[in-house]
């Protein structure tokens, strides 16, 4: 009765096979595509989407959703740029305060969901508009400045690989550890898998929610910092539509929107697939608008496949 590894992970394997197809298409259509330079670039880009997507995955695992991550990234890139103001002495304070900002946003989300019994959709949807509003009232034009050494981190390499990629790999390993090896991680799956069972088993559902929503928002704040590294200024354009991209990546990666099922490896697959799609479109000189169509189609296909897999 035990399903084999292949059966269990068939669709995630399909996702990785699709990535391979993208790579093949790219290789045959452009000399540039399969260069070390392009591939490391793609991985670095994936780290941006991936960091937020991992947080989103935690929230979706407990059958929640966080629609505010895009706006939070936007706010954090502005706040950190203003706080840093080009001065190396301000780096640590800017980083700490920005992550603290993320933490408080997450705690507020969990508070509203836990104590006022509101739906995650409503809470984070409101948050999407509020955080965006705050950001745009701070500035509609690029503002603030990264210190030069902070900016340098973007192109810093270690053993031929960008440190940002390393950061993302470490983050993924930590996340796998958290989900599979710790009590908190198993409780995340339990809460998402069957809320009433989790409660009856004496698990503090509220505590799990506080943890998950804070982690998600802190990761979004961290992504704001990554964007400051990349842009050097606080650009209020950053983060537009990001919440939807993260949800698509998480779902393509096999995470159930009803909670309780999903893996880091799957989400990585979803993130890579989306990032390779974007990269391929640029290289092939295809309009970015087609990207939306392709992502939408993959999204629907993935959800329908997972649905048939469940029954």
């Amino acid at each position: 009765m035990n399903r084999s590894f292949f059966q269990k992970h068939a669709i995630i394997l399909v996702v990785y096979a699709l990535i391979l197809v993208m790579i093949v298409i790219g290789t045959f259509n452009s000399e540039y595509f399969l260069t070390l330079r392009n591939l490391t670039n793609v991985l670095r880009q994936a780290a941006y989407l991936g960091t937020v997507a991992l947080g989103q995955m935690l929230v979706i695992l407990i059958a929640g959703i966080d629609l505010s991550v895009g706006s939070l990234v936007k706010l954090c890139v502005l706040v950190s740029a203003i706080l840093m103001d080009g001065d190396p002495d301000n780096v640590w304070i800017a980083v700490t305060l920005t992550l603290g900002l993320g933490l408080s946003v997450g705690l507020i989300h969990a508070f509203l969901i836990n104590e006022l019994n509101m739906s995650p959709f409503v809470v984070t949807f409101a948050s999407l508009f509020i955080l965006k509003g705050i950001s745009l009232s701070i500035s509609t034009k690029p503002i603030g400045r990264a210190s030069s050494d902070f900016l340098m981190l973007y192109s810093e390499k270690f053993a031929g690989i960008y440190v940002i990629v390393f950061f993302f790999i470490i983050l993924m390993l930590l996340m796998m550890f958290l989900l599979n090896k710790t009590i908190f991680g198993r409780h995340i799956y339990a809460v998402g898998g069957n809320l009433s069972v989790a409660q009856l088993s004496g698990i503090s559902v509220k505590r799990v929610r506080y943890g998950v929503y804070s982690l998600c928002s802190v990761l979004a704040a961290a992504t704001g910092l990554l964007w400051l590294m990349r842009m050097g200024v606080g650009d209020p354009v950053i983060g537009n539509g990001l919440e939807l991209n993260t949800i698509i990546a998480v779902v393509i990666g096999g995470t159930s929107l009803f909670g309780g099922r999903g893996t880091v490896i799957g989400v990585l697959g979803g993130v890579l697939l989306l990032t390779f799609t974007d990269n391929l479109l640029v290289i092939l000189g295809v309009s970015q608008f087609y990207g939306g169509i392709i992502k939408g189609v993959i999204f629907v296909a993935a959800v329908s496949l997972y649905k048939t897999d469940d029954s």
């Binding site: 009765m1 710790t182 009590i183 908190f184 799956y189 339990a190 069972v197």
Partner: protein, 507 residues
Amino acid sequence: MRKSQNPFILEMKNISKSFGGVDALKDVSFQCRPGTVHALVGENGAGKSTLIKILAGALLPDSGEIIFKGRKHQSLSTRKALNSGISVIYQELALVSQMTVAENIFLGREPSKSFGIIDKNRLKIEAKMLLKQLGFEIDPDMEVGELTVAYQQMVEIAKALSKNADLIIMDEPSAILAGHELEQLFLIIESLKKSGVTIIYISHRLEEVFRIANEVTILKDGQLVGTKPIKDMSRGELVKMMVGRTLEEVFPVSSNQPGTFVLQVDEISTKTILNQVSFKLREGEILGVAGMVGSGRTELARAIFGADPLTSGTIKIKGQDVVFKNPADAIRNKISLVPEDRKYHGLFTELSILNNITLPILSKISRWGFTDKKKGNEIVERARQIHSIDMTSGNQEVQYLSGGNQQKVVLSKSLQTIPEVIIMDEPTRGVDVGAKFEIYQLIRQLNKDGIAILMISSELPEILGLSDRILVMREGKIVAELTPKETTEEMIIEFATTNTTVCAKKN
């Protein structure tokens, strides 16, 4: 030591609990002696589940107190209940299907190293040992969702036992376990008893109660009927206490002769539970369907109504073969369903009476897609008169009506399509006695008008008082066909709970 001070491990005193004005438990008290099996019996809706949920801390009582191991509790939260040594095996399985057997067993109490890291080895080894000790052959690494229901129940039992509880509550384990597995459970219960564990065993099956229980407590309509040692009781006595007084309501007498067959169901089976069910229903006949919850009664209604696909068998309407792909097909063929749970399946409680009643016939009272309010109001007015619905106007929202009036609205809604066959699932659930009588009269009236009625009900007096014939279901099959004149409530319970298939009277 403890024994000399207090002969009981658990005392529940004067527990009351009501939901939205309806009393689920009224002043119920009962006691358990340590190291015994205490059976808790009663019909559906007698209040067994509510009592158990209060004991497990999943519900708060309105009043009363609980004394467990000599300590007084006003109420118990889930965590507190577990820590103080009470553990529940729920009827609806309390497992996370995406997690492994071992993880489920220790959910909420995972063995850990420092920093909240799970000790996976210990988790696995302890789960393995526990399962072996219980004689269950289950791989602790399997995902629970991949196990059959019977195996899931075993995991549930293992989970409860792993908590080293002093008191284990088993909520109808035999509803799922059978044969060898059930025997295994009885052996486990026996050995638990020997080691001093107290067990509260809830069951519909009387033979089990007589086999394993030391004492039995009977509940009826949320009230305590009594607690007695099992050796002082006969089977008949117990059944009588469960069923209690015969309902005082007068059932309107049937005067019509059933006509020709309208509905013929031949050996239908479904993926859900139905297993080769056959029966025939005549014009102007009321066919009562009795059976315990989970016996397949509701599934039968769904299958006939086209809500669940058939895997085999045929349905004939007036002699013609029909296949219903969905409920709309069934409605077109003049079948109507009055569903079990009106709040979820029967009514839009936030919409007006008018909107509810006219919903099935909107096209009839509309012109070019616009509804004719006047026609709608006429229909509502007629329904109000015929069914004596107590309402202020057709615009009143259904949620503000009493249960009985809501049920009348559901009935008149399902009558709008002028059906020839009506399937009623628990037509008087959550309805007060007065309204019950009105609904009975309404059913009789429909019956007189020549409509064939399939009436599913847990209320045996209702089944006996209204039906022309009675079918009893158990485990997805029809196990008996009875005529009300020659039948007693005890007989129906007997058929619904034991393993003999009898046709008392062939039709």
